[in-house]
Symmetry: none
Subunit: 203 residues, 2 copies
Amino acid sequence: MTPPSPKVKGKSVQAAMPFDPTSNQFSRRLKQLRAERGWSLDALANASDVSRSMLSQVERSQANPTLAVAFRIARAFGMSLGELVETPGATSSLVVIRAGDHAYHYRSDQDCQIRTLSPLHLEKDVEFYEVQLKEGGALRSAAHFEGTREFLTVQKGKIRVESAADSEQLERGDSINYRADVPHAIVNVGKGEAIMFLVDIYR
Amino acid sequence: MTPPSPKVKGKSVQAAMPFDPTSNQFSRRLKQLRAERGWSLDALANASDVSRSMLSQVERSQANPTLAVAFRIARAFGMSLGELVETPGATSSLVVIRAGDHAYHYRSDQDCQIRTLSPLHLEKDVEFYEVQLKEGGALRSAAHFEGTREFLTVQKGKIRVESAADSEQLERGDSINYRADVPHAIVNVGKGEAIMFLVDIYR
DNA sequence: GAAATAAGTTCAGTATATTAAACTTTTCCC
DNA sequence: GGGAAAAGTTTAATATACTGAACTTATTTC
């Protein structure tokens, strides 16, 4: 019972390159998040209880935060540490096949109408739909590719979303995102038709 | 545009309780993983290039590893850092945002209200917004990161989208996508408010 | 344009993360 | 049981994470 072969053991490596890719990614991610929300270093410092100077150094890859600090930063952004550190770039492992037939796993029938809003073959594996469900209608999907996540927001009506064992009821304005690499379903449980927007994200 | 209210700011807290829940969780997780695989501290130390003593201290919550160290440990176990720090049970397979929930408002003024529908922890760099523009209102954005594309579909009202030199007019049901890595703007040119959904895709 | 305010960086000091080596405890044979 | 080897903990020294305050740079405001 031994772990996979150890790699370079010398400590000289660490001396030469004190930060592994993680840190740099983390720095970029942090910078981006803060920019998106338009927060100053000071604002984030207050929200996270991490000093302004530390944040500055981390963003510029001049310091390597501890888990505790990373955790506080994540919380300031309203997300878990896992969500914060999960590398969005390292997803290259699997290329999704997905031919031009974007609608192959959906059926468009009396109960369910799907309009594709996203142009096909975007650089990213993202698709964007508008879905209409007649009263009592349902959209049931088999498991998509591993790692797929589906995001939806209700524009009209009342629906129930089921993913694996989980189930949630949603009304106009509510949003939800869930794993789509398991069998899942969207059911119109209200009166009249239901309309929703739906984003599929593969990885 | 301020982050959610700061919590306890005093540093005395940190002195009294040097490790937040993260570390303890991490310690338990680490101990469990190592036990599951039947690895000794020494074996893990070799595989991860983290010292035996450090591992011991971390497992007993007597030290608070840096991200770099946590990363190396994760790799030794053949998993991503996100997978390692995300408590196995809490891997939310389903996240709901209620209509009234303003937690994800990141920007709001008289003319323009933006609701972030996707907490941006998705593996891909994708974000999803609902934008409301009052009559005459406009949303002007500086250039986003290189390679960013924005996709929008009009839910209500009449708008004009400007990206670099291009300009297009849209009505309910119309969709458009355009480069967002240049200065761009969305202007409400109709009567009454305009509502649209917006997807940002980075690469 | 100058003064004022905010945002970001650098600095020096302190706390602590990290390591190698010494030490203690457990496990395993005989 | 007793000795040996492995597993785990503690120690002392060093590197660096982290902070508050001083400083520099951009942004506003008049």
